[in-house]
């Protein structure tokens, strides 16, 4: 498995989740564990550029794949999150940013959503597409503003 550009040789039991492999075996603690059942999105990482809940993935399924965690992200969203105060305690932040990167790519590729579509990225679209990432501090407004800002810049 490649993690943030580095080859990581791992010998894990088949029941070890990708999240636990990253956090407990590789010391990559950027992805967070909030629920361990795919409900909160704090563990979101990019697998070959696609956002996934790493707590619902088994490490062995990702043999040979390229995993990007927040530690491997270098994206204008990171500064935009700070500027727009899209975070408070910070525990959901890694997942929000990784998810937003994946979400922007999905939208650009024309993936539909329940908010209506694949046209211009509206605030409602962002809210719908980011609803798998919970934030208990309630920094949602700042997160959406940060994503809109970056989406506007990169369009």
């Amino acid at each position: 498995m490649k993690v943030n550009g580095d080859v990581a040789a791992l010998d894990v039991e088949p029941w070890v989740s990708l999240l636990d492999a990253l956090r407990e075996r590789l010391g990559v603690t950027g992805p967070k564990k909030g629920c361990d059942q795919g409900a909160c999105g704090a563990c979101t990482v990019l697998a070959d550029g696609v956002r996934i809940n790493s707590c619902l993935a088994l490490a062995v399924q990702y043999d040979g794949r390229e995993i990007t965690t927040i530690e491997g992200v270098d994206h204008p969203l990171q500064e935009a999150f700070v500027r727009n105060d899209g975070l408070q305690c910070g525990y959901c932040t890694s997942g929000q940013i990784c998810s937003a990167i994946g979400m922007l790519a999905e939208h650009a590729a024309g993936m539909p959503s329940a908010a209506g579509g694949s046209g211009e990225l509206s605030q409602d679209e962002v809210r719908e597409r980011m609803s798998g990432n919970l934030c208990r501090c309630g920094a949602y407004n700042g997160i959406v503003d940060a994503i809109m800002e970056v989406a506007g810049e990169t369009r």
Binding site: G27, P31, K33, I70, G90, N141
Partner: protein, 757 residues
């Protein structure tokens, strides 16, 4: 309809270059790069993992516990039960003489007893080489129980509630005039019963502890809202001196009250590390958080209001029942806000409490006021319907000049301004006074208001400030950062006090080796720390002024200390002065330090004296607009504006976020949040983030927040805490908007569609 308002950006004066500004949070980069490490993210070479075994009965005894299968799993280091571990010392009884005694989540001596006091109480701990092995082996532990009868249903037991005891800090009842008689005689009256369900904090970071013993020295990585009290508590429970315990808590992944006490996970991680001689990490599963960390009590409330034809209140009655656990928790101050909100000549308030065989309740964001304002502010709205009066007008007619019960002055109260400004910005005049009359396409549109209220209190803090030779200013205090912007705002304050650029200030926090700070609770931390920081800076300035005046050829020689100003990185009288670097260099010092120490006696004296003189609170006016689907009765919050009278705002950016955060949690409380407890056996039925429904992105519209920015003359720098005021009144504003949209009053939270169909 989407209107975006500019956030209030208060004007700054020369003396406050940073206070009031929208400054980026200092820990932002660490949290957006993954660099920030939380309690479960510190590694040790001999680290072992712990997992809990929870009781599956609500009350009784463990008669036998079979750990053989668990021990047989390869990689299991030990299985701890009440049969094989040394008991911890029991927790102390709560006492005002030692405030740290308040930090005990429950009175249960975990693994020191075979007794079971709630469904989910930890009864064994498995320690293993990996997380997966610990969790698997925990599933193999087989306890046998002798069950005892248990009272677990709030609904069934609420009738057995008894009057709550008043404490030094909070009174549980009040009587003025004859409220029942006035109610009976009132030409207009409402008499409503409300209910609110249990809630859980659900910080996204589940509670986690990494405990490392080295002889009698303990290092603890822990997300806590109270470092100093936690340390003292652990010292007492494990029989070691306080100074041999170090608690590191630089980043707390959300708290909301849930990390304000010491719960089982912390104690059992420390115990497991002591027994096994290994570094132990116990990161609770989400389910374990529900089983071991208390939440908000359920409540039932009665609010009855009587008024004359002009809408002037003649009677105000607010009574409540909350619940505790038989082994801990305390009755909530549900009627606390009702003491201060309305100028009624006859008032009756009474809080009652019932003990259940459930996990102890605990404080959760605005305990008391959050659910109390739901009932009171819903009832006021209902009275407005009865009178045919605008609900803002009704509130304004009953806005008190002095405290309705004690007669004290308000240290500042600008609810009239908050409502006037809010009404204008929100477009309140466009509201059709008829229910169900506003539509947007198929959606029914409703608008509602409610008042926010939370007391402004202060604790005590020890703080040191140190100026170093290179011009760096270090602020040292064991403060807690769980998202409020703690370090950022104190850096702003210190920068202004000492006249140095913000990027030269470093705030050290989250460590028990630092001077003890206040707990992060009761919206008290920022004001408390601000008082300490400003006092320590004043001392530091005096010392530096003395050094500056003694410097050879000093341009400050002969100036009066009062004429010396800290600005531009030094001390100046008029345009003559010295930079801090010059002062330290002339004095041959590599740093100068000053500090203030917390003093319990001074604190209590000031607290009691001020309480007789002032009523201090952050207040606000919430404006909510909802859309209700007329077919499914689905409720969507479509617009929000909160206007707050919260004193001086230190950081316009982090303050806005904190107020919004309160509103978001309030929207959850209004529409979806509910910890379901099986009344037959006291088990939490939905201990997960997929079945406890908190607001997600799609549930939260743009939230406008504004503040009046009028300093409170009785508070440090004029600031009032804002961590909790945001959530108060929110559920009522939603319920009132739903009432306007549909004509239906929902008095039973959450407002789910089955209650509207």
């Amino acid at each position: 309809m989407s209107i975006k308002y500019a956030e209030a950006e208060p004007a700054t004066t020369d003396a406050t270059k940073y206070v009031g500004r929208a400054v980026d949070r200092i820990d932002g980069p660490a949290k957006t790069t993954g660099e920030a490490r939380y309690a479960a993210e510190h590694s040790y070479p001999d680290l072992a993992y712990a997992a809990l075994v929870h009781a599956t009965i609500p009350r009784g005894r463990v008669t036998a516990i079979d750990t053989e299968a668990a021990r047989a799993v390869r990689g299991v280091i030990d299985v701890l039960t009440h049969e094989n571990v040394p008991a911890m010392k029991p927790p102390r009884k709560p006492s005002v003489l030692d405030l740290s005694s308040m930090v005990s989540g429950t009175t249960v001596n975990y693994l020191g007893t075979d007794e079971v006091h709630w469904n989910g109480q930890p009864i064994a701990v498995v320690v293993a080489e990996t997380l997966e092995i610990a969790r698997y082996a925990a599933s193999l532990v087989r306890p046998l129980y002798q069950e005892l009868p248990a009272a677990t249903s709030f609904e069934a037991e609420k009738h057995n509630a008894v009057p709550q005891k008043s404490s030094l800090i909070a009174e549980a009842s009040a009587n003025k005039g004859d409220a029942p008689a006035a109610l009976a005689a009132a030409p207009y009256a409402v008499d409503l019963t409300f209910s609110t369900p249990p809630h859980n904090h659900n910080a996204i970071e589940p509670h986690a502890t990494t405990a490392v013993w080295d002889g009698d020295r303990l290092t603890l990585h822990e997300g806590t809202q109270n470092i100093a009290w936690t340390r003292r508590h652990l010292a007492l429970r494990f029989g070691v001196p306080e100074k041999s315990i170090r608690i590191l808590s630089p980043h707390v992944g959300g708290g909301f009250g849930g990390k304000g006490s010491v719960w089982a996970g912390t104690l059992l991680a420390v115990l497991a590390a002591r027994v096994t001689g290994r570094a132990v990490r116990l990161a609770l599963t989400r389910e374990s958080v529900y089983h071991t960390v208390g939440g908000r009590t359920a409540s039932t409330q009665r609010v009855a209001l009587g008024a004359d034809a002009d809408g002037r209140l003649t009677a105000l009655i607010h009574t409540s029942v909350s619940r505790t656990g038989r082994t801990g928790g305390s009755g909530e101050q549900i009627t606390a806000g009702s003491r201060h909100l309305y100028a009624a000549p006859n008032i009756h308030l009474q809080q009652n409490v019932v003990q259940l065989d459930l996990l102890a309740n605990t404080f959760m964001r605005a305990p008391g006021e959050s659910i109390g304002t739901f009932a009171m502010e819903s009832a006021v709205d209902e009275l407005a319907w009865k009178l045919g009066m605008d609900p803002i007008e009704l509130r304004m007619r009953n806005e008190p000049e002095r405290d309705p019960l004690g007669g004290q002055e308000f240290s500042g109260r600008r609810l009239r301004e908050a409502y006037a400004l809010g009404a204008e910005r929100f477009g309140w005049s466009r509201r059709d006074p008829q229910a169900g009359a506003m539509r947007d396409g198929k959606w029914l549109v409703g608008m509602g208001v409610a008042t926010a209220y939370h007391p402004s209190l202060q604790m005590m803090a020890s703080v040191t400030v140190r100026l170093e030779a290179d011009g760096t200013l270090v602020v040292r205090c064991g403060l807690h950062e769980m998202g409020m912007g703690t370090a950022t705002v104190q850096a702003q304050i210190a920068a202004d006090e000492m006249g140095v650029p913000l990027d030269r200030v470093r705030v050290e926090y989250g460590d028990s080796d630092l001077p003890p700070g206040p707990g992060a609770g009761g919206s008290m931390q920022t004001a408390t720390a601000a008082a300490g920081v400003t006092a320590a800076c004043a001392k530091l300035k005096r010392t530096l002024t003395g050094l500056a005046r003694r410097a050879p050829g000093s341009p400050l020689r002969g100036t009066r200390p009062a004429d010396v100003q800290a600005r531009d990185g030094g001390l100046y009288a008029g345009d003559r002065g010295l930079t801090y670097k010059e002062i330290l260099s002339a004095a041959g010092r590599d740093h100068v330090e000053a500090g203030v120490k917390a003093n319990t006696l001074t604190f209590m004296t000031k607290f009691l004296r001020e309480r007789r003189k002032w009523v201090k609170a952050a207040t606000g006016a919430h404006f909510c607009e909802v859309r209700v689907d007329p077919d499914t009765m689905e409720v969507r919050v479509s617009r929000w504006l909160g206007v707050f009278d919260a004193g001086t705002i230190i950081n316009a950016r982090t303050a806005a976020s904190q107020l919004r955060g309160g509103i978001v949690m309030g929207i959850g409380m209004a529409l979806s949040e509910h910890t379901l407890i099986d009344p037959r056996n006291g088990r939490v039925v939905n201990p997960s983030l997929s079945e406890y429904h908190m607001p997600v992105h799609a549930d939260v519209p743009h939230i406008d927040v504004e503040w009046l920015n009028e300093p409170d003359p009785t508070m440090p720098l004029g600031l009032r805490g804002i961590g909790e005021v945001g959530i108060t009144g929110v559920a009522a504003a939603v319920a009132n908007a739903v009432r306007h949209a549909t004509g239906k009053r929902v008095a039973d939270l959450p407002i789910t569609l089955d209650k509207l169909l």
